[in-house]
């Protein structure tokens, strides 16, 4: 005996739009928060630059050039941190099947890549007066370069897949695989450095840290954090709008 009741109206309240409900509450909330984060970021970064460029003392060995570490070091921290955060959201997305998590991961990537690029460029500017070369294959810079490749891979995969669903999940897998590899890559680069250059050429020897320098970098880091939140939220809102456009078609048919 078989039953067939396609037309029977079920007691359920239609399709579970929980997947879209989170973005729906997130959208206005993020909208309210962005101006605050932007203002805070502006202030903190300005203060941090002030500390770094004007207040911190001139270094005995490296002169004024070292000041670039106030951008270089926090940028490097964030390039790494944001990648791990992206991978974290990827895990959430796969486990909870929550669209918002996937959107967050997708929104984090460009900012993370930007910080990676910033770290590479500032690292290059730091190295030029010290070593006379625009690029030095030291362990930290090389790892940053590979991190940039990982970000590029993430973007490339995202843009190559048309179907949003598949793009979300596939890039989530890639982000997680990349995150697992990050410590391995970092370790192998360090090992490679010691094998080929003996005493490692290192840009990471920041001048002996006066308290003021550490303070400057932390302020910059905090400023970068607020900036990241503001920019990522703005991006997620854009993403929500884009997807909502497509979802509207679905809703019309229910």
């Amino acid at each position: 005996m078989s039953g067939l009741n396609m037309d029977t109206v079920k007691a359920k309240n239609g399709i579970n739009w929980l997947k879209y409900a989170s973005p729906k509450t997130f959208y206005p909330l993020a909208g309210r928060l962005i101006p605050w984060f932007s203002a805070g970021a502006f202030l903190l970064i300005a203060y941090g630059l002030y500390l770094g460029l004007l207040v911190a003392p001139t270094d005995f060995q490296q002169g004024e050039g070292y000041r670039i570490i106030f951008v270089h070091v926090p940028a490097a921290w964030f390039s790494m941190f944001l990648y791990l955060l992206m991978a974290g959201y990827a895990v959430l997305g796969l486990v909870l099947n929550a669209k918002l998590s996937y959107m967050m991961a997708k929104a984090i990537a460009p900012t993370g890549a930007m910080f990676t690029l910033a770290a590479l460029v500032t690292g290059s500017f730091w190295g030029k007066p010290m070593w006379g070369a625009w690029w030095v294959w030291d362990a930290r810079l090389t790892s940053e370069l590979i991190l940039l490749f990982l970000y590029i891979g993430y973007f490339s995969l995202q843009s190559a897949i048309d179907d949003t669903n598949r793009a979300d999940k596939a890039s989530a897998i890639l982000a997680i695989v990349g995150a697992i590899n990050v410590p391995i890559i970092y370790f192998s680069v360090k090992w490679w450095n010691t094998l080929h250059q003996g005493a490692s050429v290192s840009l990471t020897k920041a001048p002996a840290m006066a308290a003021i320098m550490l303070q400057g970098m932390l302020v910059m880091a905090l400023g970068f954090w607020l900036y990241s939140v503001a920019v990522i939220f703005a991006r997620v809102r854009c993403e929500i709008l884009e997807r909502d456009n497509k979802a509207a078609l679905l809703r019309q048919e229910i």
Partner: protein, 213 residues
């Protein structure tokens, strides 16, 4: 046949399926018991293939569940797959391998030992005596389809999901397939198939379902 007569049931509950951003259908429910044959009809693009793939577990529905013998197919995973025989649009055979080698591999995937003799017998009955040892690239579409369908005579799965099984078949093959489905159903098997043509079948329970786009 005792094995097929064991009580089984496939239940779809409140299925809503989308492809890409297009909703295909919503709130579809049905249940099939031993001897049921479900004829799925509808135009191209109405979601027949998507429904079949969702039943097989290749796609996930937007909403709803599918259960086999009381347990969700999501949870059962390989245990469900073991009892499922799916023949889709694509022939599922490799061009470099002969018909026999392809069927041996299909049986391997089903975890079954294969006997050349029984495979040869079936292929002969299906009219492929002269080409069963050739690489499959030399077979016509119709012949490839018959190789793909040969699994229906070689495997022991109680649930069949067939996507347009009659395409590319000539009249005699159509008759053989129809007969096979009827025999299978009367022994207690469950069949879900898409058809373009309205087909008459002598089975314990024939269900027609039409999807509108």
């Amino acid at each position: 046949m005792g094995f097929l007569n064991q009580s089984r049931q496939l239940v779809a509950d409140n299925l809503s399926i989308a492809r890409g951003d297009r909703l295909l259908f919503k709130y579809l429910s049905f249940s099939l018991d031993n001897g049921s044959v479900l004829h799925l009809e509808g135009q191209n693009g109405s979601g027949k293939t998507s429904l079949l793939r969702t039943i097989c577990g290749l796609s996930k529905p937007l909403e709803g569940t599918i259960s086999w013998c009381g347990d969700s197919t999501d949870v059962l995973a390989e245990d469900f797959f073991q009892q499922l025989l799916y023949i889709g649009h694509l022939p599922g055979i490799k061009e470099e391998l002969s018909a026999i080698e392809n069927l041996e591999f299909s049986l391997t995937l089903a975890g079954l030992k294969s006997e050349q003799a029984s495979i040869r017998n079936v292929l002969e009955e299906l009219g492929l005596k002269r080409c069963m040892d050739l690489p499959s690239r030399y077979l016509s579409q119709g012949q490839k389809k018959r190789v793909a369908l040969a699994r229906l005579w070689l495997q022991t799965s109680p649930l069949w999901v067939l996507d347009e099984p009659f395409t590319a078949l000539d009249v005699s093959a159509v008759d053989m397939l129809k007969q096979r489905v009827e025999d299978f159903a009367s022994q207690g098997g469950i069949v879900i198939m898409t058809t373009h043509q309205a087909l008459q079948m002598q089975v314990p329970d024939l269900v027609r379902l039409r999807l509108n786009s």
